[in-house]
């Protein structure tokens, strides 16, 4: 595939992620902070997000599995996940967290468990999407091209 074809494909894919609400403008901010001196910035931040999220989701599963649930702790974990998803532009995950925190405040166990399932799903979706996007970008760079940026 030609570089410009790859770039078009990459841009179309990125656009679809925005249209479907997986990513928001914050992700564009991240891309804009990447330059020749910091060529791996987006990959580094996204990788950190994956590590962080997986840890938090495990902690949440554990916390909600206890006989006596510490909602303060659950809320603290969700707050962190909301923060990191917001920082990278993972909109759907962030929105799930917002709903999740409301249920924590109400100490509604069933709703919390349901939110946990939802946030896990949303996380899996966005992880797959981001991995695909990064793969496309890396192919472009390997072929000597530059990563196309979206105007937002």
């Amino acid at each position: 595939m030609e570089v410009d074809q790859m770039q078009r494909q990459c841009l179309d894919y990125t656009k679809s992620l925005f249209l479907e609400g997986f990513l928001d403008g914050q992700f564009v901010q991240l891309q804009q902070l990447q330059d020749e001196n910091n060529p791996d910035f987006v990959v580094e931040v996204v990788s950190l997000f994956f590590e962080d999220s997986e840890r938090l989701l495990n902690d949440l599963t554990f916390a909600l599995d206890q006989k006596s649930i510490d909602f303060k702790k659950v809320d603290a974990h969700v707050h962190q996940l909301k923060g990191s998803s917001s920082s990278i532009g993972a909109q759907r995950v962030k929105n799930c967290c917002i709903a999740f925190r409301n249920f924590c405040e109400e100490q509604n166990i069933d709703a919390c468990l349901s939110c946990l399932q939802q946030v896990k799903q949303e996380y899996c979706h966005v992880k797959n999407k981001l991995e695909t996007l990064i793969r496309l970008e890396q192919q472009i760079v390997a072929a000597g091209g530059s990563i196309p940026t979206m105007e937002f």
């Binding site: 914050q26 901010q29 991240l30 804009q32 902070l33 910091n38 910035f41 580094e44 931040v45 950190l48 997000f49 962080d52 707050h79 962190q80 909301k82 923060g83 990191s84 917001s86 920082s87 990278i88 532009g89």
Partner: protein
């Protein structure tokens, strides 16, 4: 005293989230600031040379401890929600320190709570940014830094002037030999 080359402003960033630290560091560096990022209020105070209250036994807690600043920091930007010491606690400690109180402090938070924002601004924060912080927010920092730089220079001029004009005169109008007036 003129400075030949302007060193970039040094910003101390405080945030317990690694992702947010990476982000703020990149944002600040993109804006040509020199950055040190730490993950807690207590580490920030350590870097600023401010010894914690609990470590001193005899001082009553109301006396601000003097900072021995090894590192010059021109602005502090801190997250609000942090375990142990919040950004607000950090703000208060800085403003209570004679040597650190003039350093501009900016607070960041993911939560838009008007009462929180007002309290921080009333108690000495120069700006309050909602997360995720944008480049446009970081662009608002320079005026605060320039303003405090001007103030530092004015203070230094007043200080120098004061020392040059000081005379120590004993009751019999002789200047004691062991008193030395400093210059500059």
């Amino acid at each position: 005293m003129g400075i030949a080359a302007e060193a970039p402003f040094h910003v101390l960033a405080v945030d317990d989230s690694l992702i947010d630290r990476m982000l703020i560091e990149r944002l600040l560096k993109t804006s040509s600031f020199h950055v040190t990022a730490v993950d807690s209020g207590s580490k920030a105070l350590k870097l600023l040379g401010l010894v914690e209250d609990e470590q001193i036994n005899e001082e009553p807690p109301s006396i601000a401890l003097e900072a021995h600043q090894d590192v010059e920091v021109n602005l502090i930007i801190t997250d609000y929600c942090m375990p142990e010491m919040t950004g607000y606690d950090l703000l208060r400690k800085i403003k209570e320190s004679r040597s650190l109180k003039d350093i501009p402090v900016v607070i960041m938070s993911s939560e838009n709570v008007p009462s929180r924002i007002n309290r921080c601004l009333e108690d000495g924060a120069d700006e309050f940014f909602l997360k995720p912080v944008q480049l446009s927010d970081v662009n608002k920092l320079r005026p605060h830094l320039l303003k405090s730089k001007v103030k530092d220079e004015e203070d230094q001029q007043i200080h120098d002037k004061g020392i040059n004009e000081t005379e120590v005169i004993a009751p019999d109008k002789t200047i004691p030999k062991n008193i030395v007036t400093k210059n500059g």
